[in-house]
Amino acid sequence: MLFAVSILGAVTGAILAVAAYLTPDTGVDGTTGAMLAVLGSVVLPIGIFLSARSGPRARWWLAALTVITGVLTAIAAYFLMQNLLMAAVLVALLAFLIHLFTGPRRVTA
C-alpha cells in the first residue's frame, strides 16, 4: 500500500512538473528551474521502483539517492512556488521512507 502511495505521489509530481514547465503563463514555464523539477520528479518514481526491486546492498544506495533527489525536487518546487508539486513529492517521499523501514523486504537468494 505504502509503496503504491509513494509511486502514485511521485508520478503525480512528475505530471505536475511537466505541466508547470509546458503550460503557458505558470510563471515558471520554459524555465531552467522547472526543467530541473521535471528531471527530479521523473527520476523519483524510477528510483522508488528500482530500490524496491533491488537487492539489499543496492537498495540502500538507491534509496539514499532517491531521497536526495526527492528532497531537492521538493526544494525546487518550493522556490518555483509549485505547492502541489511540492506536496506530491513530499507525500511520495514520506510513503517511501515508511515503506523502506517498515515494509516487507525483498529477499534475494
Binding site: P24, D25, T26, G27, V28, T31, T32, G33, A34, A76, F79, L80, M81
Partner: protein
C-alpha cells in the same frame, strides 16, 4: 422646509468617498498633474478580495527577438476615454476595446517599420487622447507615435485617419530632425496633450554617438499638426560637439500656470563629457516651459555635467503642499539617483534644502567632472547613498569569493563616482533607482508612493584604440550589446564602454538584497513613512525570498480607497498593497512582468483596473501581449 435635511443628506451622500468615481484615465499618468491618483473609493484594502479578473485580450503584437523581428518592450498605460479603452502596441497599432468585455471595437495599423532604429527593442508606451469638446468626426482623436518618427491621429470612434492632421492623418515629425541627424526621432512615449496643443518629445539611440540630434520639445496644433514652437535644450554653440538632452519620458502640466514640466535627459555621449565641458544648464534637468510660447520659465538641474546617464526619468508630479499654514503649488521629481526633489512649481525653488557637495574627480582622458553635485537629504533618498550594498555572502560563497574580489577591483567612492578604465560601480544603476514609472501621490494627504530598484552595475571605459579588439574577443563577432547591457561605441569620443550588472559567474547578484523596495513619504514633512521589500526576484524560474524584493520597471497607482495598484516586478505578478502599511493584500499571476502603469477607472458603475502586460528583458527574458482587466462590482 422639511426637505432640507433630505437634501443635505443627499448632498453628503454625493460627497461621500464611497460614491467617488474615476470617470476617465485619459493620459499616461492618469491626469496632467501626473499624480496617478484614482478617485475610486470602493477600491479599498477590504474590497480587494472581491476584485475579479473580468477579461483578457491578446494583441498578437509580440516578439521575443528569436525570429526576424526585434524583441518587444510594451509599457503602455491603457487610456480610458470616450467610454472606450485605447492601447498602443509595440508594432505601433492602436487597438480600441470595450472596457466591460475586452471585445475589439476597431484597430488601426500605422504600418511603421518594425526595426529597432534607435532603441534595442520595438517599444511602445501607449497612446494619447484629444477631444475638442464638440461632436463630429475627428473631434475626438487618438494619437500614436512610431519608431520611425511619425505621429498618427485617428478618429476615436472609428479608427479612421483624421485627414486634416499632417498629411492624411500622419505627421512626419522627422522633418524637424535637421541637425546631427544620426538617428530618427523615435516617438515611443505618447505625446502630452494640453488643451489644443500636442507636446512632443522623442527617444534616441543611447550610448552610440558623441554628436547627436540636440534635444527639443515641439508643440503642434492638435487639429492640423502645424508646428507652433520648438524649444531646444542644448546651447546653440555646443550643438556641433554634442547632442540629446531630449525628453523621452512623460510630462506633466499646470494649465492654470500655463506651464508644462518636462524631464530632460543627459547630453551625449552619456558616459564621457570631455567634449562638452562648458555648462549645459538644461541637460538632466526639470524644466518648466510656457505652453503658449515655448519659453523656458525656469529650470532645475539635478545633475551637473552628467556622465552617468542619470536622465530625468519621469513626469514631475504636481501637488499642493502645506507650508507654514500656506498652500504651496509644488512639484515632486523622483530620480534615477534616488533623490526626491520637491520644488515650488511656480519658480523652481526647492521646498526642502538642496546642498551642493563635493564629488570624486575623474582620471579619464579629457574629462572635467563637476566639482559638486546637488544633494537632498529630505525626503530621505530612495537609495542609500551612504554606502553601496554589501557583498552578498551567498553569491560570494557560491563563486568562491568572486564578488569580494570584484568589490576590490572596481572603483566606488560614493554617489557620482565617475566612469573609469578600471571599471566603476554604478550605484544606483543607470536605469535607477527610480525610472519612468515615477511616483503616485494622494493629493488629499500629500503622501507619495514609489517603487525603487536596488541594483548595482559596473561601467568600464574602454580606450578607443583597444575597443574593437575587446568587443571582438568578448563576443566573437556576435551582437555587442543587448537591452541596456554589453558594449557600446560612443563613437567620436576617446572611449567606448562596457556595462553590466554586478553578478557572479553563476549569474547571481553580488550585492546583498533587497533588490527592490516600495516606500511612502509624507511630502508635507519629508518624513519617510515606510520602506519595504517589494515583489519577488526570479532567476532560472526560482523565486527569491520576500525579504529580497525585486527590481522594478513601471509605476504605481493610488486609489482614494487607500490601495496601491502596481505590477512592475520580475515575477509576472500584479499586486494591490495597503497604502497605509505597504503590505501586500492581493496579487494575480500574469503572462510576463507588467512593466507598465495600470489604468484605473469607473465604467458603467463598476471600478476597473487594467494592465498592459508586455515584459522587458532588462528584468528577465519574458515578453507578452496580454491586456488584463480586473473589475470590482459595487457591493
Amino acid at each position: 422646509m422639511r426637505h432640507i435635511p433630505r437634501l443635505a443628506a443627499l448632498c453628503l451622500l454625493a460627497a461621500s468617498p464611497l460614491q467617488a468615481e474615476q470617470p476617465e484615465w485619459n493620459t499616461f499618468n492618469g491626469n496632467l498633474a501626473a499624480t496617478k491618483f484614482a478617485d475610486a473609493a470602493t477600491l479599498t484594502p477590504e474590497a480587494m478580495a472581491r476584485l475579479e479578473r473580468a477579461w483578457e485580450f491578446r494583441t498578437g503584437d509580440v516578439s521575443d527577438g528569436s525570429g526576424d523581428l526585434p524583441e518587444t518592450v510594451w509599457s503602455a498605460t491603457p487610456i480610458y476615454a470616450n467610454q472606450t479603452l485605447y492601447l498602443g502596441t509595440p508594432f505601433y497599432r492602436i487597438i480600441a476595446l470595450d472596457p466591460a468585455t475586452g471585445a475589439e471595437r476597431w484597430s488601426y495599423d500605422t504600418k511603421s517599420t518594425l526595426e529597432a532604429l534607435t532603441q534595442p527593442a520595438l517599444k511602445n508606451r501607449g497612446v494619447a487622447y484629444w477631444e475638442s469638446g464638440t461632436e463630429g468626426i475627428c473631434e475626438k482623436r487618438v494619437l500614436i507615435g512610431t519608431m520611425d518618427a511619425t505621429l498618427h491621429a485617428v478618429d476615436a470612434d472609428t479608427g479612421l485617419p483624421c485627414t486634416d492632421f499632417g498629411q492624411n492623418g500622419v505627421l512626419n515629425v522627422n522633418k524637424w530632425n535637421d541637425t546631427n541627424a544620426v538617428f530618427p526621432f523615435s516617438l515611443l512615449q505618447p505625446p502630452t496633450v494640453v488643451g489644443d496643443t500636442i507636446l512632443i518629445g522623442w527617444a534616441g539611440k543611447d550610448w552610440a554617438y558623441t554628436v547627436e540630434p540636440p534635444g527639443n520639445l515641439m508643440a503642434v496644433d492638435a487639429r492640423t499638426g502645424e508646428l507652433l514652437w520648438d524649444t531646444g535644450f542644448i546651447p546653440p554653440e555646443m550643438i556641433p560637439v554634442t547632442g540629446t538632452a531630449n525628453i523621452w519620458s512623460s510630462m506633466s502640466a499646470d494649465p492654470e500656470l500655463g506651464l508644462v514640466y518636462v524631464p530632460v535627459s543627459s547630453p551625449s555621449p552619456n558616459y564621457w563629457g570631455g567634449n562638452r565641458t562648458d555648462p549645459i544648464p538644461l541637460a538632466t534637468s526639470i524644466a518648466a516651459i510656457r505652453i503658449d510660447t515655448g519659453e523656458v520659465a525656469w529650470s532645475f538641474q539635478h545633475v551637473h555635467h552628467d556622465i552617468w546617464d542619470y536622465d530625468t526619468p519621469s513626469a514631475p508630479t504636481l501637488i499642493d503642499l502645506q507650508r507654514d499654514g500656506q498652500t504651496v503649488p509644488a512639484l515632486v521629481q523622483t530620480t534615477k539617483q534616488g533623490f526626491i526633489f520637491v520644488l515650488d512649481r511656480r519658480t523652481g525653488a526647492p521646498l526642502f534644502p538642496v546642498e551642493e557637495r563635493a564629488v570624486p574627480a575623474s582620471d579619464a582622458e579629457g574629462e572635467q567632472v563637476s566639482p559638486t553635485q546637488p544633494f537632498a537629504d529630505v525626503p530621505v533618498p530612495t537609495i542609500n547613498h551612504a554606502a553601496m550594498p554589501a557583498v552578498w555572502p551567498l553569491a560570494d560563497l557560491l563563486s568562491l569569493g568572486q564578488c569580494t574580489k570584484d568589490r576590490a577591483t572596481y572603483r566606488y567612492e560614493g554617489l557620482y563616482t565617475p566612469p573609469s578604465e578600471q571599471g566603476s560601480f554604478l550605484w544606483p544603476a543607470t536605469a535607477g533607482g527610480n525610472n519612468w514609472g515615477g511616483a503616485a501621490v494622494d493629493p488629499r494627504t500629500g503622501i507619495l508612493y514609489v517603487n525603487t530598484s536596488q541594483v548595482v552595475q559596473v561601467l568600464r571605459l574602454i580606450p578607443r584604440a583597444t575597443y574593437a579588439a575587446e568587443v571582438e574577443a568578448a563576443t566573437g563577432g556576435g551582437p555587442a550589446s543587448g537591452n541596456e547591457a554589453g558594449f557600446y561605441a560612443q563613437e567620436g569620443s576617446p572611449y567606448g564602454i562596457e556595462l553590466f550588472e554586478w553578478r557572479n559567474s553563476l549569474g547571481l547578484p553580488c550585492w546583498a538584497p533587497p533588490f527592490g523596495t516600495f516606500s511612502a513619504y509624507d511630502l508635507n514633512t519629508g518624513e519617510r513613512l515606510y520602506e519595504r521589500p517589494f515583489g519577488l526576484a526570479q532567476q532560472w524560474g526560482f523565486y527569491g525570498l520576500r525579504s529580497w524584493g525585486s527590481p522594478t520597471l513601471g509605476g504605481p497607482v493610488i486609489t482614494s480607497g487607500g490601495v496601491i495598484l502596481i505590477g512592475a516586478s520580475m515575477d509576472n505578478r500584479v499586486r494591490a498593497l495597503d497604502a497605509a502599511t505597504g503590505t501586500e493584500i492581493w496579487s494575480d499571476l500574469v503572462a510576463a512582468p507588467a512593466v507598465s502603469i495600470p489604468a484605473v477607472f469607473t465604467h458603467q458603475g463598476a471600478d476597473y483596473v487594467v494592465w498592459a502586460v508586455g515584459g522587458n528583458s532588462i528584468l528577465k527574458p519574458r515578453v507578452a501581449d496580454q491586456v488584463v482587466a480586473y473589475r470590482l462590482d459595487p457591493p
